[in-house]
Symmetry: C2
Subunit: 143 residues, 2 copies
Amino acid sequence: MEYAIELAKKAFEIGEVPVGAVVVQRKSGIIVGEGFNRRECDSDPLAHAEVIAIRKAARKLGSWRLSGCDLYVTLEPCAMCCGAIINSRIERVYFGAYDLNAGCVHSMTDMFVMPFNHKPEAYGGIMEQQCAGLLKDFFAGKR
Amino acid sequence: MEYAIELAKKAFEIGEVPVGAVVVQRKSGIIVGEGFNRRECDSDPLAHAEVIAIRKAARKLGSWRLSGCDLYVTLEPCAMCCGAIINSRIERVYFGAYDLNAGCVHSMTDMFVMPFNHKPEAYGGIMEQQCAGLLKDFFAGKR
C-alpha cells in the first residue's frame, strides 16, 4: 500500500485525483502491475488506477486471469473497477480510503457479495489516514 | 445495431465470444467508437466490446465525457461495462440479447437505477434474435 500511495502522489503532481494501485502476485510477492489515475490527461474514462494496473498485470502475466493476484488501491473501487476486478479474477482487494460517493465494495453497495462468477475478498481502511489525506489535500487545493 | 452485429461476427471469426459495440454521437449520427470482444486474443480482462468502443470514442472526441453519445451493444453489459458507461456519461444504452449470468442492466441487477452520479437510459431486446443467435451458435460450436 505504501507503493500505491507513492503512485497516488504522482497523479497528484500532474493534477489528477490522487489514486494509485498495484497488483501483486501473492506467491512471488512481485508487483506485476501498477497505475495511477490518468483520466484527465489521457481523456480516457477508463483510466482509473485499478484498470491501468490490471491491464499491465494481464499483459505481464500473459493471461486475462489474474488468479493468485491481489490488488492494493488507495481508494475504494468504483463500479467499473469492481467489475474489472471480478472479470480478472483478482483474489483479494485491499483499499485505503472509503469513497462514500462511488465506492462499490462497502459504501454504496457491495458488488463482491453479488452472485457473479467470482467473489473477491476485500479489506478496507488500510493506511486510511494517508490515503484519504492525499485526496483531502487535492480537493482543498481545487477550491 | 446492425453494425454492432457485424462487429460481433468479427469476434466470432477469431474465436472470441461474439459481442460487438458501437458508440454513436446522437446529433451527428456518426459512429465515434467501435469494438468487439478481444479478451482471449489480447489476454486482457478489460477487452470487452463496450470498453474498446468507449475508449476509441473518448480518444476521437478528445474527452472522457461522452455526453450526447449512445451505445449500441449486442449483449447486455456486465458490471464492469455498466461502470464504464456510467463513468463516461453515455446517455442511452441499446442492447440486444439479455445476459442472465452477468448482465447488470436488467438480468442480475440494474446498475443504472443505483444512486451514482449518472443514470443512463437503457433499452434491451433490440434485434435480440440475431444477437442471441450468434452467441448460441458460438457456444454450440464450442461443445
